[in-house]
C-alpha cells in the first residue's frame, strides 16, 4: 500500500459556510504528513471527517484502500487519534482511562502493558493519579498514550504539542519521527508550530479557507524555483516608498521593521539587488528565505 489516506473532492458545508472546499490529497504510508492551515481554515473539520465524526457533504475518503463509509469498523481498529485537546475522564486515573480506551479498541492489555505505554510518554509515576490533577502538558501526553495504546498503523494527531514545554515538545517530536521512520507508522499531524513541522514532516498539505493551496514533499515545497527574499535596510520607510513606485512593487510582501520582502524567481535576485542599489536603498543584507513559515505566510497572504 503506497497511500494510507486518499481523499477526493472532499467538501463540507455548515449552513451557508463551506468549511472544506473540494479538498483532495494523498497521505503516503510510513511518513509524517503535516497538515497546516490558519485557525478556521478547515483543519479540524477535515480531521473529523477522516475519523467519521462528521459526514462529508461531498467527496470520498479511503483509508487503507477501504472506503471509510462502508468499512469504518475495520479501519478504526488501526487508527489512533487525538482530536483538538485530548479530553479524557477526569474523575478516573490515567491507568483507568487507558484501560477503557484500550478495551474500546478491542484489545485486552494487561496492567503491565498499560503501564509500559504510560512510561513511553513519561507518566508512569502518575499512573494512579486522577486526570483532574494533571497539568495540560500531562493531559496531552496521556492523550498521545491513549492514541497509541492499541498500536495503530495510522495515527492522527491534532495539535499534539499544545501545552507542552520545550522538553515535552522535543519528546513528542522524537516520538513522532520514531513511529514513522522506525516503526513504519503513518502519522498525520496538524499543527501551527511551523518550525516544528518543518523539522519532522516528510510531506505536507497546506489549506486556507477550506481549500488546498499547496501539497507535496518537504523538498518540493521548500525548494521551489521561486524564493522569498528578505532585504534588511537602514531606512525601511523610504525604501518601501521607493519600491512601491517601482516595478518591483508587484513582488513585494509584507515585512517586519527595517526589512523588505519579495517573492520572485531565484534567477531574478541579482536583478532585484542591482535595481534596489540604483534606487539608492541602503542594503545591509539580502538573503533568500526557504522556511516553512515564509512559504505559509506567502501562500496564505494571497
Amino acid at each position: 500500500m503506497s497511500a494510507v489516506i486518499r481523499v477526493r473532492n472532499l467538501s463540507r458545508d455548515f449552513r451557508e459556510v463551506r468549511a472544506v472546499d473540494d479538498l483532495s490529497f494523498t497521505v503516503p504510508a510510513g511518513e509524517v504528513y503535516g497538515f497546516l492551515g490558519q485557525n478556521g481554515a478547515g483543519k479540524s473539520t477535515t480531521i473529523r471527517m477522516l475519523l467519521s465524526l462528521i459526514r462529508p457533504t461531498a467527496g470520498r475518503i479511503e483509508i487503507f484502500d477501504l472506503d471509510l463509509e462502508r468499512h469504518r469498523h475495520k479501519i478504526m481498529r488501526s487508527v489512533g487519534a487525538i482530536i483538538e485537546k485530548p479530553d479524557l475522564y477526569k474523575f478516573l486515573t490515567a491507568l483507568e482511562n487507558l484501560r477503557i480506551f484500550s478495551a474500546m479498541s478491542g484489545n485486552r492489555h494487561s496492567e503491565k502493558q498499560l503501564l509500559h505505554q504510560l512510561e513511553l510518554v513519561g507518566l508512569r509515576e502518575r499512573a494512579h493519579s486522577k486526570v483532574q490533577t494533571y497539568s495540560q502538558g500531562m493531559k496531552q501526553r496521556l492523550g498521545i498514550a491513549v492514541a497509541l495504546v492499541h498500536d495503530p498503523d495510522l495515527i492522527i494527531l491534532d495539535e499534539p504539542m499544545n501545552g507542552l514545554d520545550p522538553q515535552g515538545i522535543a519528546d513528542v517530536r522524537k516520538l513522532i519521527v520514531h513511529l514513522a521512520h522506525d516503526r513504519g507508522k503513518t502519522v498525520f499531524v496538524s499543527s501551527h508550530l511551523l518550525n516544528e513541522m518543518e523539522l519532522i514532516a516528510d510531506s505536507m498539505l497546506i489549506i486556507n479557507k477550506g481549500k488546498k493551496i499547496a501539497e507535496g514533499s518537504k523538498e518540493e515545497l521548500l525548494n521551489p524555483t521561486t524564493a522569498v527574499v528578505e532585504v534588511i535596510t537602514g531606512d525601511a520607510s523610504r525604501a518601501t516608498a521607493l519600491v512601491h513606485q517601482s516595478r518591483w512593487s508587484a513582488f513585494a510582501l509584507p515585512a517586519g521593521e527595517g526589512a523588505l520582502r519579495f517573492e520572485l524567481e531565484k534567477a531574478r535576485i541579482p536583478e532585484l539587488t542591482k535595481e534596489l542599489v540604483e534606487m539608492g536603498i541602503p542594503i545591509h543584507s539580502i538573503r533568500p528565505r526557504h522556511s516553512l513559515e515564509d512559504l505559509f505566510l506567502s501562500l496564505t497572504a494571497h
Binding site: 465524526l53 462528521i54 479501519i75 487519534a81 483507568e96
Partner: protein
C-alpha cells in the same frame, strides 16, 4: 459487548453523583418512616377519613409495614424518576460535554452498539435504584412496623387486603415500577443523545415528568379526555393496580386483581414508549455530526 457494558457501568459508578440518588432515597424513606412513627395517627385519620364516619378505625393495626411501604411508594414513584434522569440524562450528553465522546466514536464500535450499551448501563443503574427502594421501603418498613392487613384508600372506596395476600402484590408492583422507570430512563437517554450538555436533558426530563404528572392527576375533564390516556405518567401508576382487589358482595377475593388486562395494557404502552425513545435516540445519533 459484555466488556463494553462493564466499562460503562464502571464509568457510571465511579462518579460521586451516582450515589447521590441512593443517598436521597435513603433520606426520604427514613424521614417518612420517622414521621409515621411519631405522627402516624394523624396520617391514618386522613387516609381513612372516607370510612371514619361509618366505622371505628383501627389506626394502630392499620399502620403497619405494608402500609408504610405503600405510602413511601406513592411518594417516591414521582420523585425517583427525577433521580433516574440524573444518570440517564448524562450518559451521552455528559460525554459530549467532557469531550470524551469524540474519542469514543473513533473506536471500532458502531454508534448503535455504543448507544445500546449506554442505555443498558443506565437501565441497570435504574433497576439497582429500584431494588434499593424496595429494600428500604418494604424490608425496613416491615422490620420497623411489622405486618398486618393492608388498607388501600381509593378515590371512591377503600379495600383491605389480607396480610397473607400482600407480599406477592409488592413483587408484582416493583416489577411494574421497573417498567415505568425504564421508560423514564429511555426518555432521559433520548434527550441526552440530542444534547451536548447534560443539564439540558436532565432538566427537560424533570420538567416533562412534572408537567405530565400534573396533567395525569389534575382531574380536569378536558385533559382527562384528550391527553391523559396517552401520557406515560398515567400508565406509570399501574403498579397500584396490583392493590385493587376484586370483591364479591363486599368480600375481597384473595389473589385477585380488579383489572389485570388494564395493567397489562399500561405495561405494553410503557414498553412501547421506551422502545420509541430508544429507537429515536439511535436514529438521531447515527446521523449526528459530532462537533463536541
Amino acid at each position: 459487548m459484555f466488556r463494553l457494558l462493564q466499562i460503562e457501568l464502571f464509568k457510571i459508578f465511579s462518579r460521586p453523583r451516582t450515589y447521590i440518588a441512593f443517598a436521597v432515597i435513603t433520606a426520604i424513606i427514613f424521614l417518612v418512616q420517622i414521621a409515621l412513627r411519631f405522627s402516624g395517627r394523624e396520617y391514618m385519620d386522613l387516609i381513612m377519613s372516607g370510612v371514619k364516619e361509618t366505622f371505628e378505625v383501627p389506626a394502630e393495626e392499620a399502620l403497619n409495614g405494608y402500609l408504610v411501604c405503600y405510602i413511601v411508594l406513592n411518594l417516591l414513584l414521582i420523585h425517583v424518576p427525577i433521580l433516574v434522569a440524573l444518570v440517564a440524562g448524562d450518559v451521552v450528553a455528559g460525554e459530549a460535554n467532557m469531550g470524551t465522546l469524540r474519542l469514543l466514536l473513533t473506536k471500532p464500535v458502531s454508534r448503535t452498539r455504543l448507544l445500546l450499551i449506554k442505555f443498558l448501563a443506565s437501565s441497570i443503574y435504574t433497576i439497582l435504584l429500584l431494588i434499593w427502594v424496595a429494600v428500604l421501603a418494604l424490608g425496613l418498613s416491615v422490620l420497623l412496623f411489622g405486618t398486618s392487613d393492608l388498607f388501600v384508600a381509593r378515590e371512591v372506596d377503600s379495600n383491605i387486603i389480607a396480610e397473607s395476600d400482600v407480599l406477592w402484590r409488592y413483587f408484582a408492583a416493583f416489577l411494574f415500577a421497573a417498567i415505568g422507570l425504564l421508560t423514564v430512563t429511555a426518555l432521559a437517554f433520548m434527550l441526552s443523545a440530542f444534547a451536548e450538555n447534560s443539564i439540558g436533558p436532565i432538566v427537560a426530563t424533570v420538567c416533562i415528568i412534572i408537567v405530565f404528572t400534573i396533567l395525569t392527576q389534575m382531574q380536569i375533564p378536558f385533559y382527562d379526555e384528550t391527553v391523559k390516556p396517552y401520557l406515560f405518567t398515567t400508565h406509570m401508576l399501574g403498579w397500584k393496580g396490583f392493590f385493587y382487589v376484586r370483591a364479591e358482595e363486599g368480600v375481597t377475593v384473595d389473589g385477585s386483581i380488579e383489572d389485570f388486562p388494564l395493567i397489562v395494557k399500561s405495561g405494553l404502552i410503557l414498553i412501547g414508549y421506551a422502545a420509541l425513545f430508544v429507537v429515536t435516540a439511535i436514529w438521531y445519533f447515527r446521523k449526528k455530526n459530532i462537533l463536541s
